[in-house]
Structures are given as C-alpha cells and as structure tokens.
Homo-oligomer: 123 residues x 2
C-alpha cells in the first residue's frame, strides 16, 4: 500500500486556542462492508486504551444503516478537556496501537469539536 497512516493522521488537529470545557471527538472511518468484523476488533482494542485514560467521559461507535455512506463507521467520544484528549494521544502506547499494520486498511478523519447547542438527555 502506498499510503501510510501515521499516529499524527489518527489525531484530531488543534485549533487556534485550546478548548476549555468538554470536547467531542467525531472520528469517521472508511471501511469496506466486507471488513466490518476486522475493523470492529481493531477499533475495540484501541478503545480499551482510551477509556482507561484520565479525562475520558464516553464513546459511541456508530455504523451507518446504508452501505454506500461516505463514512460507514463513526466514533463520537467525549473528553473532559482538550488537554486530557491531547495527553491520551501523545503516549507511546497510543503510537504503538495505531501503528499496527491492520489499521492501514481504514482511513479516518478525526475532528475535535465543542458543543454549541444541546437539547434532550443524551443516550
């Protein structure tokens, strides 16, 4: 494969200033429908690392109902602060996990967000 995804490619870019309160990672993955099981296993292993890190709040891994969606799998993860989120992406263990060959099959677009408007109890 000519493209190699680095740990930096797997980390949401920073903005002009660090967000203060809770932040939300929305990470969209391109996964061939025939590889769903392998993707989920790789993602699950990595998620065990993240949920054990300081400042982790929650995650929801979603799969699209339609197979032709541009990104069929999307992870929405909440962290207590951007600082905690960044710290979890700067460890040797993070680099080891996402540098594994099996991850090369799944391009991803990690973007960090702040919540602007909220209605209802999240479930």
């Amino acid at each position: 494969m000519s493209t190699t995804f680095t740990p930096e490619d797997r980390t949401a870019p920073a903005g002009g200033h660090e967000a203060g309160g809770n932040v939300t990672l929305i990470n969209s993955f391109v996964v061939d429908p025939g590889r769903d099981e392998d993707f989920h296993a790789a993602w699950y292993e990595t998620s065990r690392y993240f949920i054990a890190q300081p400042g982790f709040v929650s995650l929801r891994l979603h799969r699209a109902v339609n197979d032709d969606a541009p990104h069929r799998w999307v992870n929405v993860a909440v962290w207590e602060s951007e600082a905690a989120f960044r710290a979890a992406h700067m460890t040797q263990e993070f680099r080891r996990l996402v540098s594994q060959d099996k991850w090369q099959a799944y391009p991803s677009t990690p973007v960090l967000f702040e919540v602007v408007t909220a209605e209802g109890e999240a479930s």
Copy 2:
C-alpha cells in the same frame, strides 16, 4: 447558484432494512467561518421543528475547534426509531423549512447510524 439542495438532499438515505431501536443522525455541514452566525440561526429554527416531533430524543450541535476541518459543524441527533425519524422528514413543514433560500449556502451530508458499542454515560 447552480446547485440546488432539495429536501431529499437533507434527508439521510435508508438502508436495506429499517433499523429497530434507537437511531442516530450524524449530519455534517460545510459552513464558511464567516457565516457561522447565520448558519446557527438557520439550523436553530429547523431544530425547533425537530425537537417537537414524536420520537425525538436528543441533539448536540458541534463546531470544530479548527477552521480547516472538512465539515466545521456537525449535528448528532438521537431518535427513538428510524420510523419516527423518517416521519419527521416527510412533512410539509420539514420541506418548507429546508427549502428556504438561506439553506442553499450550507451543503450537508446527513447519514443515519445505529450504535454498535457504547462506553460511559453520554453527556
């Protein structure tokens, strides 16, 4: 403007079968940083319609921390069922709202998902 976004463009495509339990809409918007305020006003008006519909559970409107994100605004909305979600997108009022000229400035990619893995309390 040569492209016109129809109400159908504003509705997440269906899959091969209707999802049973809760579903999550992840709707990504392209918004020029200079139009954030106008976008939020248009989105907010439309969101008042959705939160009053049967089966609406919650929503979180997110703005990216970095201005060069591919989609700077993303709405994550939970519905009790795909049937309720579809019904809310088949009314005259929905069509009227998203057919307004002001919406033409904001391309969107609405995709419907099911949650596969969840950790922690959503906030």
